[in-house]
């Protein structure tokens, strides 16, 4: 069970190691799916690319702010 448990934990951390990034990414994909499904695939592609970059930036800025506050 020890090795299996670690294996499952490793699998989960591969994708959800940073839940504050993973969850918004899943929401972004759902939005992109809705936009593409509504017949605007080009707009959906742009939302996907710029959304990913924006989420990465937001996550890193938040991480920096949180560490700055914890140092005070």
């Amino acid at each position: 069970m020890g090795v299996l448990g670690e294996l499952l934990r490793e699998l989960a951390s591969m994708f959800f190691g940073a839940p504050r990034l993973a969850l918004p990414l899943l929401i972004l994909v759902a939005i992109v799916a809705a936009v593409a499904g509504a017949g605007w695939p080009e707009i959906a592609g742009a939302i996907l690319v710029f959304g990913c970059l924006a989420l990465l930036g937001e996550n890193v800025f938040n991480e920096a702010r949180a560490r700055k506050h914890s140092k005070r």
């Binding site: 591969m14 890193v60 920096a64």
Partner: protein
């Protein structure tokens, strides 16, 4: 001729390069633990554990690999695309945080010493198990990378070739120097791989959802460049901002 053309396609080149770089990171990490076991208990338990893990990974691939063939292509693209996005963006985030000094860099020498201390009084069986777990856990990521990068587009051979090349290179250098490979620029590799995996994830998620990328597969290179340059700019910006505060 057809094989040569498919090997030279941007997707195939990206598959080989990203699989090679990502596997290098994972194999270096596994090698550190196997080396720590070997330095304390000899090569027998270290190699037994490592080979046992490789056999388990092969069994997993044989058991679950054929199931992927039955998944419809668009569903497979979305499934793997989203998994790659989560995986790649996670690596890219970590690489940016490390580059900006917000997170400590990965240190193979430190991990080697910690592993040796933990195994100091361990039996040969426990040491072998440690090698088994390390190779299994890191190998699992390599298997995911190969499947994610190669499945559904006929790139499994290209992705596997990249991983095999990485394994051969790391093992050759590792067995020659017999020390943890701490000089491997782990964070730079993670940066590039994170950007490439994210671009694959974006591309395939989009394709699965009906997005027609401008330039077809060539869009992969543009996406990778966008993720890489944005990540690098973000890292530099955070580093400068932290330096101002300090």
């Amino acid at each position: 001729m057809q094989i040569a053309i498919s090997v030279l396609s941007p997707a195939a080149v990206s598959a080989i390069v990203s699989s090679f770089l990502a596997s290098t990171v994972e194999i270096v990490e596994a090698f550190t633990i196997v080396l720590a076991v070997a330095s304390l208990q000899g090569w027998r338990p270290a190699l037994s554990g490592a080979l046992g893990a490789l056999a388990s990974l092969a069994a997993m691939v044989l058991a679950f690999g054929p199931a992927l063939e039955r998944v419809p292509l668009s569903a497979l693209q979305i499934l793997i695309g989203v998994a790659l996005l989560l995986f790649g963006m996670g690596w890219l985030r970590k690489a940016v945080l490390r580059a900006s000094g917000l997170m400590a860099l990965h240190d193979e020498d430190k991990i080697f010493s910690q592993e040796r201390s933990a195994l100091l009084n361990a039996s040969a069986w426990a040491a072998g198990l440690a090698a088994f777990k390390a190779v299994l856990l890191e190998g699992l990521e390599v298997v995911f990378i190969i499947i994610a990068v190669g499945a559904g587009r006929g790139l499994l051979v290209a992705a596997s070739a990249g991983a095999l090349l990485a394994a051969a290179l790391v093992l050759m250098i590792g067995l020659f120097v017999r020390r943890p490979l701490s000089r491997v620029p782990e964070n730079d590799l993670k940066f590039v791989v994170g950007a490439m995996m994210s671009s694959f994830g974006c591309f395939w998620t989009g394709e699965g959802l009906g997005v027609h990328w401008p330039g077809g597969e060539w869009a992969l290179l543009g996406l990778a460049a966008s993720f890489l340059s944005f990540g690098a700019a973000l890292g530099a910006c955070m580093r400068a901002s932290l330096a101002r505060i300090a």
